[in-house]
């Protein structure tokens, strides 16, 4: 064994310790970086040759240390679990947001919501019944009825606005998904090149994992890691990203709720930009689609049912009466009016048909029995009031369930995130200790070098000096 071998051992040790300090420094620098996974220097003792020569012996103590790589210490299974839990959370968060929007649109329970406006209207009919000849009471009734029609249209406009807002956001999210998928494909390519060149690509993998987490939350996508280091992203059974190619998702269907309801356009859907085939999505996009095609149109249907109940009951009762001039009553609301266009057709308070009895000769009947009958409609078991109350309560129940599911899932997702962090997060105390170890290792290696140097000094400069 050469005397100089020890110097070379010292050099490998110094290099390894320096590299270790670099890695520790990188960890500390990224202690608060989102998605960063801690790294660790992987080193190996350099020993005897693995396949010794046939007739020789190896008596060396080893040839120092070798850096074989920089490991990324994340746990892939834990990360995958966090992705799935966060996709479910994104789904529930979006459902919760949709229902909260509906709740805010209804604005119940309050004195000013549609329920209160309906009650005010029925009471105004009672006031007309008490004073059928009083034009003021009739005017109040007409304005209260107008307020109810306005209230219904306002709720409908709120639901329409929720729908259009959701539709625009669907396009925005789809665009983000496409951009993320394209970036994942590029990163796959870059990681493949780095791996082939034997260079570490840990930071690129961190970046890709962040994007994969976003993609999973937005679309409910599943991820499969391939042996060559690339990641494949699947929506249902179709690939969104495979190797260095990314497919593109597009949204189709109605841009306005009115188009969808009139049948002029199909409901919103997601398709593959290339083939036009349907895309199966979960996560945020899945919940958004559900809101646009199921939840919101469903509540509009319910509101239309309330409108129809009000319209038909009031029109039927009003047409059965006689107005202040003894003429038969007309319809209060247009036949076929929906929550989008319900309006009061009667403007002249004299046309309000408060009387149930026909005029006797030219003397119009001043009985208020028809008005009293209309006032009693508010208490009908199957009337607009009870239908609307049922709608409010159903929204409340759905929203409460969504809130609870969201809260539970938020807890689960937080635990999953914590597990990811626990496996791959940077603990600065730990890094401090590593820092110390590498520093001490460096100092010791330097000492080894010095020792060998002094030994050689003794050998070279002080031997052969006997008797001098």
């Amino acid at each position: 064994v050469s005397d100089f071998a020890a110097l070379s051992i010292g050099l490998t040790a110094l290099t390894a310790a320096r590299k270790g300090l670099d890695v520790t420094g990188q960890n500390i620098a990224n202690a608060n970086t989102d998605g960063y996974t801690r790294q660790r220097l992987v080193q190996q003792a350099v020993g005897a040759p693995i396949t010794p020569a046939l007739w020789s012996t190896y008596t060396g103590a080893g040839s120092g240390v070798q850096v074989t790589g920089i490991a990324r210490l994340g746990d892939e299974f834990v990360t995958a679990r966090a992705r799935i839990e966060n996709a479910t959370l994104a789904d529930l968060t979006q459902r919760q947001a949709t229902l909260a929007g509906v709740e805010n649109t209804l604005g119940e329970p309050s004195d000013t919501g549609l329920a209160g406006q309906l009650t005010d209207m029925w009471n105004a009919w009672h006031d007309v019944a008490n004073a059928p000849g009083d034009l003021a009471a009739r005017s109040v009734l007409l304005s209260r009825t107008t307020a109810v029609a306005d209230g219904i249209r306002t709720v409908r406009q709120g639901l329409d606005a929720l729908w259009s807002g959701g539709r625009q956001q669907l396009d925005t999210v789809v665009a983000q998904v496409n951009a993320d998928a394209a970036t994942v494909a590029e990163l796959n390519q870059a990681i493949l090149r780095h791996d082939n060149a034997g260079e570490p690509a840990n930071e690129l993998r961190d970046q890709r994992d962040s994007l994969l987490a976003d993609l999973a939350a937005r679309t409910g996508a599943t991820v499969r890691y391939v042996a060559d280091g690339t990641a494949e992203v699947y929506l249902g059974s179709s690939a969104l990203v495979r190797g260095n190619t990314a497919a593109e998702v597009a949204s189709t269907g109605a841009a306005q709720l009115s188009d969808m309801r009139s049948g002029a356009a199909a409901g919103p859907a997601l398709v593959w930009a290339g083939s036009g085939g349907p895309v199966s999505v979960g996560g945020e996009l899945g919940a958004r689609l559900e809101g646009l095609t199921g939840t919101l149109p469903g509540y509009v249907d319910r509101l239309d049912a309330v409108t129809a109940a009000l319209r038909d009951a009031v029109n039927a009762a009003h047409s059965a009466g006689y107005d202040l001039d003894g003429n038969p009553g007309t319809t209060m609301f247009a036949a076929g009016a929906t929550s989008a266009d319900i309006a009061v057709q009667i403007t002249d308070p004299r046309r309000v048909a408060a009387a149930a009895h026909p005029p006797s000769g030219t003397d119009a009947s001043l009985d208020g029995d028809n008005a009293a009958a209309l006032g009693a409609l508010g208490r009908a078991d199957t009337g607009a009031d009870s239908a609307y109350r049922q709608l409010v309560v159903d929204v409340g129940v759905a929203a409460q369930a969504a809130n609870r599911r969201h809260d539970v899932q938020a807890d689960i997702a937080q635990r999953a995130d914590a597990a990811v962090d626990s496996a791959g997060g940077v603990n600065t105390d730990e890094e401090m200790v590593n820092l110390l170890s590498y520093q001490r290792a460096y100092q010791a290696a330097a000492r080894v070098t010095t020792a060998v140097d002094e030994m050689l000094d003794t050998l070279i400069n002080r031997t052969g000096m006997v008797g001098r």
């Binding site: 009650t119 009471n123 019944a129 202040l324 006797s360 003397d363 001043l366 029995d369 309560v393 809130n403």
Partner: protein, 298 residues
Amino acid sequence: VSIERITQRSMATHTLAGLQQSLSRLGELQEQLSGGRAINRPSDSPTGTASALALRAELAVNQQWSRNADDGLGWLGTTDQTLTNALDPLRRARDLTVAGLNGGAAGADAREAMALEIDQIRQGLIGTANTTHLGRPIFGGTTSGATAYDSNGAYLGPAAAPPITRVIGANTAVRVDLTGPEVFGAAGQDLFTTLSDTAAALRSGDTAALQGTLGRLDAGISGMTARLAAVGANYNRVQQLQQAAKDRVSSLTGALSDVENIDLPATVLALNLAQVANQAALAATARVITPSLADFLR
């Protein structure tokens, strides 16, 4: 169970989540306290919302019934007063008729004076029959005209008028009017005709006719008295129903408040507890996050 590896970042995340939770609880209680309401949206309590909506509707309808009763009491009160006022002159007319019968020997002048007074009473009675309440003749039934009787005492209201009623409870409508024929008699046999017949009999000194009109007058007076009693009974009934509606309003208000409003002491207590929890979380954070190995290394 694996021992979890704790990192500074995971601790910060946990701490932030905890602080967020305690702060959102504080915010929720703050919203309840400042609004005074426990149910601010249906999802806060769907069953509570259902009750609140039903109670509000019930409350409004009971308030309306109470107002309907007020209106009905106005009609009945006016009718009661009017009938009471009408009875006095009618009794005077009866007295005059009896005097006319007894004083058969009285001179034509005296009988003419009595006849004139009867005529005055008849005109007054027609005026009384046209008494209005809020612009409507109270004995005119459902007529849209301004008077129930013309100046000759002919009834102007609809022959078969529906009763005027006030709704003062679920499926409870109370009649609040009386039509002219009900009070003053059917056309031809009404009190106005009776009075003019009496005046004519006095003028002509026809005792037999006077005897007949006295009987009709008595029948009219007793009929009107019976109507007056019925009006009084209806007045009482409306008052009782109104009281029931008012009682219901106050009990419904209490029930609505129970459902919708916060329990103030409980909420304030909960707010204090939440505040303490929040402060504890903040204090713990300040202690836990700070220390680092860096503090202890040279």
